[in-house]
Amino acid sequence: MTTKLPAKDVVIIGLGWTGSILAHELTEAGLDVIAIERGPWRNTATNFAPNYAQDELRYRIRHELFLQPAQTTFTFRNKMDQGALPIRNWGAFMPPNGVGGGGVHWNAETWRFLPSDFVLRSHLTQRYGSKFLPQDMTIQDWGVTYDELEPHYDRFEYLCGTSGTAGNLNGQIQAGGNPFEGPRSRPYPTPAQQQPFSHALFGKAAAELGYKPFPQPSGNLSQAYTNPLNVRMGPCTYCGFCEWFGCGNYSKASPQTTLLPVLLRKANFEARDLCEVTRINTDSTGKRATGVTFVDASGNEFEQPADLVILSAFTIFNVQLLLLSKIGTPYDPVSNKGVIGRNFTHQTISDVESFFDKSKFIFNPFIASGSIGMCIDEFNGDNFDHGPHGFVGGGYMGQVQTNGRPIQTAPIPPGTPKWGAKWKDAVRDNYLSALKPGTGVHGSMYSYRDVYVDLDPTYRDRFNRPLARITMDFHDNEIRQNAFLTDKFAEIFHAMGAQQVNKIYRKAPYDVTDYQTTHLCGGAIMGTDPRTSAVNRYSQSWDVTNLFVMGASNFPQNAGYNPTGTVAALAFWSAQAIRSRYIKNPGPLVHT
């Protein structure tokens, strides 16, 4: 039996970063909003208090804050002619769960994409000619530009108190910042974090090699901060427990530390936790959403009618829910038609481990934050001439090592046995004097015709719904990009004085057991043409105009940066369009 709840103006599916932002904006506009969250409520004092948050086994190895695969997972295969098998335990990426979503356990690396990233196909075609791109590469322009998003990047950074050094203030290049970034309208709200030894040494060596190193923009704050909503955050203590962990200090920007204390006190907002939306309901025409159906933790089913539906779950769950709700045409890679599931991407990352003379270098790798480090952007996006190299794309690179937690971070030189006395000696000898940035090379992954999401024919979730199926492999363009970047990256560690440098290139096939960020993107992409995009430039569904789809599922391809800054900027941009135009005149915001 389904209990029908009183209608609301807005129902929000998923209360992570984008759900919280939309809830805040739409309640400000006076709408009555409910958010439905699959996972639990979480807060600092209860779930990651500083007297037990720093627990590598519990949170990093056993994944306590994440979705459990038993609850739901995906299937995976490399190629269209292979069978897909379920991801039974997480590896390549870590889907979030619970209020705050990935904002609870992210590293808080808060980047903006390059202006050229938003007009990628036209930019690259103009510079190199259309034949320069691989034939099966399906990159697109976004339909929204950097200049349009700039005020919204700014809003997110000031909400979070982001710590950084501006590189481009209103077109004026600033010393010490990223000279390649798009113009920003004002400085970061707080100065950059302090840099520990290895991170500073990387910056010095990079500068000596002629690069322009700058501190990674950080949502772990360099100083106490009060945001525009009057929510207060504390300074980061460099404890080295960010990604995979909740912050016990109120120092890491998350919905909990920036928005929820205001949002939850509003009379026109409520949230339900431990409730999973099973479908978006549409009327008989299929062109209008009537609300959602969800099931609570006790198995009770509810219908929540609403005039406006915001789909703000994690990337691939957005795609799955659209497919299960039969909204939009499923993508078919054979005919290259349809939109839901197309242009799915991840990130092309690699690492370099380096080993220094222990009598001269003590790095104390445990002193870090999740978005620490000096970076260079010379090899990101189209910041360099790709003509001689025969590939497109790139990424930032940096000594961005976030921790020295020893189960995961005890580097030993290549060739060392994996156990026994020699292993033990190597761990002891190298722990303080070896570097392992983690995702040191943070490269783009562009989109391809045969990399996509659909519904699995075999495996099902606990509601007997088909799991989402990922078909993904690395293409030659990304492999060559990574080899080029990894070699450049390694040169900097040599210049720092490393005795031994171990380059760990990214190679095909894509391996679902090897962690390579949680930056899954695409599948419900934005664009200017309903035949090749699921949503318009305001993230509004082309097919069901009272449905807006948030998050990285909107990205037509992934850039060489962490996605959250852009995800949040798009959410504010979309919210502004809903507030200023849609509420007064519900209907399509873009006419074709």
């Binding site: 379920p86 039974r88 026994g420």
Partner: protein
């Protein structure tokens, strides 16, 4: 893992408890949800004895741990560090039963990049593999693993690692991979989980453990951090000795 708190049981496995009156979704409105003294601290291993292993299994795992991490003059080996105790407690928890993992059939062998596709949880892997290892050792020399000379133990482990030693009814290579990972976890995880006794793993490498504030040291480049490690449970000297 420690036995989860009530709230965690609700959160992580709520769907298993459908119909259970304890598993309730909540409505959040009006204020931040808050309960006095709420928290979900981990539960430390305090009880003595083996909870999963038999005495013979425990002897074998301690001997295995001591070859994976041999004792040396300054740092204990895997046995005295408590790595077998750590594994014993992990195997009675959610790790041992794979309770959080996706377990719907069909189980089909795929490529390495598909990830593990086994229906057999770690607790069963350990039980079967330790029995198979024991049979192997008795058939090749007559003694159980724990009583073999260390050079023979190393030879056997190298064979398992390389896949050249095959165990009957168990994949010796993948068991060795799991064992290796678990022993090293036990050596470096917080001592509350039964291994890393007296923070010996952390002292060996100079890791300060559960310190939460390095603001005084972030700007002190290339200087050794001066303070001894601390566990989530503090330091032994902080705890009054029982009289």
């Amino acid at each position: 893992m420690p036995p989860p708190s009530r709230r965690d049981v609700l959160l992580g496995t709520a769907f298993v408890l459908i119909g259970d009156a304890a598993a309730k979704a909540g409505v959040l409105r009006g204020q931040l949800p808050w309960h006095p003294n709420a928290g979900s601290p981990p539960q430390a291993v305090t009880q003595a004895g083996w909870l999963f292993f038999t005495a013979d299994e425990a002897a074998a795992v301690e001997a295995l741990a001591d070859r994976i991490i041999p004792p040396d003059p300054t740092t204990p080996g895997g046995k005295d560090a408590g790595c077998a105790v750590y594994i014993d407690r992990q195997l009675i928890g959610s790790f041992g039963t794979s309770s959080g993992l996706y377990s719907s059939p069909p189980f089909v062998t795929g490529s390495p990049q598909h990830g593990p596709q086994t229906a057999v949880p770690p607790a069963v892997v350990y039980r079967k593999s330790l029995a198979a290892l024991d049979r192997y050792c008795r058939a090749h020399g007559g003694n159980p693993f724990a009583q073999m000379p260390s050079d023979q133990q190393d030879q056997l482990l190298s064979g398992l690692e390389a896949g050249s030693v095959e165990l009957e009814g168990s994949n010796g290579k993948s068991f060795f991979g799991m064992l290796l990972k678990n022993v090293q976890e036990g050596f470096f995880a917080d001592p509350i989980y039964g291994g890393n006794k007296d923070m010996c793993g952390w002292k060996m490498i100079g890791y300060p453990g559960a310190h939460y504030d390095y603001r005084d040291w972030v700007g002190r480049h290339n200087e050794r951090y001066p303070h001894p490690p601390v566990s989530i449970a503090g330091r032994p000297e902080w705890t009054p000795k029982a009289t």
